[in-house]
Point group: D2
């Protein structure tokens, strides 16, 4: 294939990662990068890592036309899909505007009725590990929340194997980096105030709760804590279980769910330093590392998932979904393996 | 008063903090610092922050005699109390050797029977906020685990006010710094491997579980995650509750428990950056900052506590307990207020 | 004594450190904290570390009256001394407005003529290690730049001992933390952009050059590099020398300069980890740690000095200067010894 | 081509980067990874980032045979080239054993005579930007020190354009990350002792001095300071110059030297955050970003270069040299562009 790919909101962090991935994608011929604030400027103004790799300049939104695929990397709540839907046969919307299927849930979590509730049923929740078949050929694919992605991938095998005791909620703690907050500087993100803190960012009421509950059908209690980190999420899910005699049952569930997944690695070692999923290893990669531990008392499984919030939690997952939607090799353009140390 | 205070294991991190605090304590006349490995060397060899403030040298263990109070800052499981009990009328043992009252619990969590089970009943679990009256005049006071201290202080008001639904476990996630692992270098603590990681250090089976359950009488599921931080713990406890209509109930419980506590601060703000307890602010201080949030669904309270693991989680709490045990002003020598930013 | 101390600009980082130090100062009875933007709010709004230690609220600038000493912690270039000079018999101006004695130098480095050149001669450059006698009894004491303080204290012994080869410039590289930039958030200080960088902040043309040259009389080439750190400066000065046969000469020079200084420590060890001055150890303290190394080729001495930019580089040095000016014990209120690790 | 590449010392950090790069290299068919300590174990034991990308196991050194190219990633001073020279027609030795051409210089800087001084003349100092033509077809190529690489690439344009005043030494300060120290844990690298420090690691006497002087022919005064960073070097060189009227002269020199270099980028912007070379942007890439600034006084140029010490400072440069030596496209296998933020 020889695609023309558009990015609306290309100056943000997710936009920058889309650029990095699409510029090196073997099936992408041309990238159109649109920014309302930086139109006319080289993309390296916003993304200095791309120096010497591209001469591309940002264009205004109206110049994004004739694309085969269009990525919307706009702020949550922009609700600008109408404006862009006819610019490409496939739209991948990374915002939270189309993640929830139930308009009532949207209203509860986003504080206002959805302006186009009819669209919610159209969109496919774009985690390929969940909805690969529906993504193939879809017209509107929605990105997933980064915390939701990590939580869902941690829990999916247990949900599929019916190991979760649904009488009790699953408690999920996400530890997250500062790039989750996006590109805009704020008092919160001022380095002296953010460096080295362990900040209870959203102990209750985080919106990704709704996505997790929608996709897994279990009750969720989510907290999000900011730690010293730029990229990365570690979701630690405390899962109430019954009747889990030993870890073999869990190994089976995880292997069944993920043995064939190109981007999911089961990480669980008896020795060494990296015995469980760890996000630093994943910076820049599209991997989701998952792992688990059984509480000796038998009534809790701790399920873990680490991702890079900007890649598997945003841009990389979007490119993976594009690959699936267009029938390309699923890992095309996503080969970076990550760094150690 | 004019005390002579001894420290056994004074070259470790907790030992260093004891030195820092006791050398500036208004009621301490003399400090004896014992180290088996560094006897004869200046204490500044191990604790370079004390340069120009003391000429003290480490002495061998056998030279610790004639003290009014003796701090044992030895590794967990050393079980050397017999050797030192007669060296001072008050012994404060920071190790985990005497924290559990029930010998069976000790065996379960420490993997071997306690060598002196009869002693367990003698020791007072040394968190003054819990056992101030029993500490006064005690002969053997035991330090508390740093994660246990944070978890207990987060939960205590809810336990006292009978707000915890005891049918379900309390899930506690502690985010911790690298100094929890002590002074010895290891492959895990090698900077390139530890810097910037979010490492699921002990997802299940952490020994501090036993202390928390003992002191609060509720069932606990604890996980400990290492984050980029040297000093500090943030305990995030997900507490199952019934019948909590609004946060006023919680305010009342926290105020009742802590209004008169010199080292506990209730941190809960509507605006600003530091709306919840945050450990970076507490480095070097003996404060425990506690806070809470009520899940809008009404069935969960998130209770939070931040401490410096080496101070309120070890040395500072030990000095506070000494002050209480000897009838000194409880905050003597513990006046450092912490830094921002 | 029983002083009333005022702080103008008390909501900034240096203001916060002044508050922390003055509230615990044994000779200070009352602190007046003025902020134009936060007047009426508790000081803990800006300085959460002071929670439970003070109920003080910010007042407007006009309410700062009747003080025995007044600290101006205003931005460089505010030039508001006239407004405040009569509010107290001693003014300590932490800004750069009165650091240079030569109006021409001011114009060169600050890009505009000084509005009150006559005042420049009045002010005493307030590093007690340089001008202790002139500070005693002064009416206007000026703070010093944090990088200048570190550089000057590194070099002073060599300058006094006439060991610097004045034919060649001294090259000074300062590695600095993010709090040097002050409280205001900016694109530069946004955590994802600032965390983990090694940023050539000011490779040439840093204004502190002028202060160093003024005080030491040698030619200086200064560069400032921002590193991952909140508080701290390490100045590494590469000093051209002649005729330095061995390090004994240097030891003598440093001891002569600093043996009696309460806040300067000579740090130079053959073994161990902290063999040279290191700023992390100094967070919150008023120490300046200095050290040196002789290049085996004999033509260069590397002179080092580490400080906390907000303490010895700003507020702490200001309090030390106040103590000297008012005849108090020089170390009053400055006893915090620093943390390790 | 279809190469068989061997790595001796494949369990270390440079070895891990060689593995990462060679496993994805389009002209490499097979990689043999030898480790004395981990023979028989999967390479992912040491390099967890490679999980799911390779099933390779380490082999003992004696099994490295029949290679087209052999990388020696052994500790400096191992001097084991004799043992391996016949195992492949091209050997790339990343250690410092063959970097200096002059046996006397080797003895001065390494403290002992070189065991095979005759070999020193055979080896080509393997920075392609310096010796591209001699590397093509060479049999023994030596890696360069990471600090030396950064310093040399910063200075090369000025040296070639004869802009350096050779009467005075060039002062170079390298700020470096912890991975420079290699994989072995030590007291120095223990996270609580290394995190957040600014440590004067080698203020004088760093061995890379000799390489820089050899390659550039100017006198060098080098200092190396460890900062909070895992990967990366920023070299800041203070270059004495005469007669540099303005920056145009410098632009010309840098453009002449580097316009055609695939891995060198000139970074010098008037606005924005990343105005000068910055190593965080380069993690995992083979780029060397260079920049400069002219002191307004006209007698100093600050020349800057940032690299990833494990890539352009070790493994990546080695692969680039292999590409040159074997006539492959110089950038083959080195396409990763780096991450932001």
């Amino acid at each position: 294939m020889s695609l023309r790919a558009g990015i609306v909101g290309a100056a943000g962090y997710a936009g920058g990662e889309l650029l990095r991935l699409l510029l090196a994608h073997p099936e992408v011929r041309e990238v159109v990068a649109a920014s309302s604030s930086l139109a006319g400027k080289p993309v390296t103004t916003a993304h200095p890592n791309l120096r010497k790799r591209t001469d591309l300049a940002f264009v205004p939104y109206e110049d994004v036309r004739g694309c085969d695929v269009l990525f919307l990397a706009l702020p949550n709540g922009s609700q600008r899909y109408e404006e862009f839907r006819d610019r490409a046969p496939l739209v991948i919307d990374l915002s939270s505007d189309h993640r929830l299927r139930d308009p009532k849930a949207y209203e509860v979590w986003y504080g206002a009725p959805h302006p186009h509730p009819e669209r919610l049923a159209e969109a496919v929740y774009g985690i390929p590990e969940l909805h690969r078949e529906r993504i193939a050929g879809a017209r509107l694919v929605t990105g997933a929340g980064c915390n939701a992605t990590a939580a869902i991938l941690a829990l999916l095998p247990l949900a599929r194997a019916s190991l979760i005791d649904r009488e009790r909620p699953v408690v999920i703690e996400c530890k997250v980096g500062s790039s989750e907050g996006g590109r805009e500087a704020s008092e919160d993100s001022h380095h002296p105030e953010r460096s080295g803190v362990v900040r209870s960012f959203r102990p209750v009421g985080h919106r990704h709760t709704a996505e997790i509950e929608q996709e897994l059908g279990c009750r969720v209690q989510l907290s999000v804590t900011s730690v010293e980190l730029v990229r990365g999420v570690l979701a630690t899910a405390h899962v109430p279980v019954r009747s889990v005699a030993d870890e073999k049952v869990l190994w089976r569930a995880y292997r069944e769910a993920y043995a064939k997944e190109p981007f999911v690695r089961i990480v669980k070692e008896r020795t060494g330093i990296y015995r469980y999923p760890e996000p630093k290893l994943l910076a820049g990669t599209n991997f989701a590392d998952v792992g688990f531990a059984l509480d000796a008392r038998g009534d809790r499984v701790v399920a873990l998932c680490a991702i890079d919030n900007l890649v598997k939690g945003a841009a990389g997952n979007g490119v993976q979904a594009m690959n699936v939607a267009l029938g390309l090799p699923e890992d095309a353009g996503l080969g970076f393996v990550g760094l150690h140390p």
